[in-house]
Amino acid sequence: MEAIIVEDLHKTFRLSHERIGSLKALALSFRRATYEDIHALKGVSFSVEPGETVAIVGRNGSGKSTLLGIMSRVYRPTSGKVVMNGRVSGLLELGAGFHPDLTGIENIYLDGSILGLSRREIRKRFDAIVSFAEMEQFIDAPLRMYSSGMVMRLGFSLAVQVDPDILLVDEVLAVGDESFQQKCYEKVREFQRLGKTILFVSHDLKVVRDVATRAIWLDSGSIQRDGDVESVLEAYVESTRSGAPDAK
């Protein structure tokens, strides 16, 4: 059974030129507002086997984050279907639920519950979360005392402790200093060894070559190329050089 099935996925965002964001604007708009439909995804289909590590590459605005957003259920697709078989952890942003006035401990429980962990599961993983983030000293201090790197470390450490079957990562692997990044990649390798499915977005082609087992090149909302890392990256790099990214 596939870990991820994406079938003919479309997503259209409606962008209005005079954005009506208030009742006042609604009352004052004599003519109908002009809309522009942005087709972020135009019929994307692929499937991922369990244990694959898939890198999604593409220019800014190619639909990578929209795709990840739909897979982690932040957006609803306009049409098409996404099936995820297994527990999903979406790392679109680290520590999305953190609050600056609460202590590290309190934030672990709060953000953990956003990630879908129960209080008992968090308690069981608590020591591992704190020690992975190298935070033993500061964990009972309020978050606003932390440096931004410390907040990121805590967020990452919490997210990998969810123990997902499928990990979705959006450009967040590059957190912390050199040694913490090393730990992050080791964690990713450990996930790979455990046969988990990883799908990540990255602009860092070196990371893609190091980690991914397969790459998908997305451009203006559709898949340009899907296959082994080297050939996809070669085509992608070629297109950015020639300045004709739409060329098939």
Binding site: G90, D101, I114, S118
Partner: protein, 277 residues
């Protein structure tokens, strides 16, 4: 809708954590800490007593108790609506980046205000026993029923307001204006009986006016709190009208319908929040 509710139950720890966070954050940064939640209703008790006893010189005995008894549930309603209006926008970073049932945001606001309300009721009971020395009434047992009905009403309205405010961000100002009018239209600083016995309302319109007050769940609920918690009052020209349990049942039904309508409306829009906030 039942599927959505089941999802909320699955995410109940997040709901609980958000309520606890809301309470913690509110009290953590204040010097008085948790006792601030008790000081606020105490100050309200004191102010209302002084105003109605010494400035307005109302002849009905212990009038301030009747005002306060309606004022506390009113505050619960008002704060639930106003705080929830901005709840989705306030958590936009979560809405944009993570999956969770969106209705948890306004629901957690209403629940944390429920905690304040219950604390304030505690202060109110102490005031009743120590200052007014009222007897314990058997009708106090019905209090949880009325609180639950109001919880449904507040949550239903909170769903409407929080959802609309995502798309029209001046809804919170509209809500502020409507609430300030509603404060005077709801029997809080006056008694529902004063409408019934008023000589100013033409007899032909009286059934309509009184009917509106009885059918409107908010005005009926604040009156119900008075009837259940305080003894009846009799003063010149005003006779106590006992609580009509049929109307209480009606208020329960109306509140349930408002809850269902608000939830259905919220659900129809909640997966577009991430695109708008």
């Amino acid at each position: 809708m039942l599927k959505d509710l089941a999802e909320v139950v699955r995410y109940r720890e997040l709901l609980l954590n958000l309520v606890v966070r809301d309470l913690k954050v509110r009290y953590k940064s204040s010097v008085l800490g948790f006792f601030w939640s008790l000081t606020n209703p105490l100050l309200q008790v004191a102010t209302i007593t002084i105003v109605f006893k010494f400035i307005m010189k109302v002849t009905i005995p212990n009038y301030s108790a009747y005002v306060l008894c309606a004022f506390l549930p009113w505050t619960f309603f008002q704060m639930s609506v106003l705080d929830s209006a901005t709840s989705v926008l306030f958590h936009s970073h979560m809405v944009k980046k993570t999956y969770f049932p969106r209705e948890i945001l306004p629901a957690s606001i209403v629940l944390s205000n429920l905690v304040h309300f219950i604390l304030a009721l505690g202060v109110f009971f102490i005031y009743l026993k120590l200052y007014l020395r009222t007897d314990i009434l058997i009708t106090w047992l019905l209090l949880p029923v009325v609180v639950f009905i109001q919880l449904l009403l507040n949550t239903g309205v909170a769903f409407f307001v929080s959802c609309l405010n995502v798309f029209y961000n001046d809804i919170k100002y509209v809500a502020t204006v409507v609430l300030s009018l509603l404060f005077y239209l709801t029997p809080i600083i006056y008694l529902a009986e004063q409408i019934v016995y008023s000589g100013r309302v033409p007899a032909a319109y009286k059934p309509l006016v009184v009917g509106i007050y009885n059918v409107n769940p908010l005005s009926f609920l604040v009156t119900a709190y008075r009837k259940l918690l305080l003894p009846g009052y009799n003063a010149a020209g005003i006779h106590d009208i006992p609580l009509n349990y049929w109307y209480l049942a009606l208020a329960g039904l109306t509140s349930l319908l408002i809850f269902i309508a608000g939830y259905a409306f919220f659900n129809s829009k909640k997966w577009y929040f991430a695109e708008r906030v």
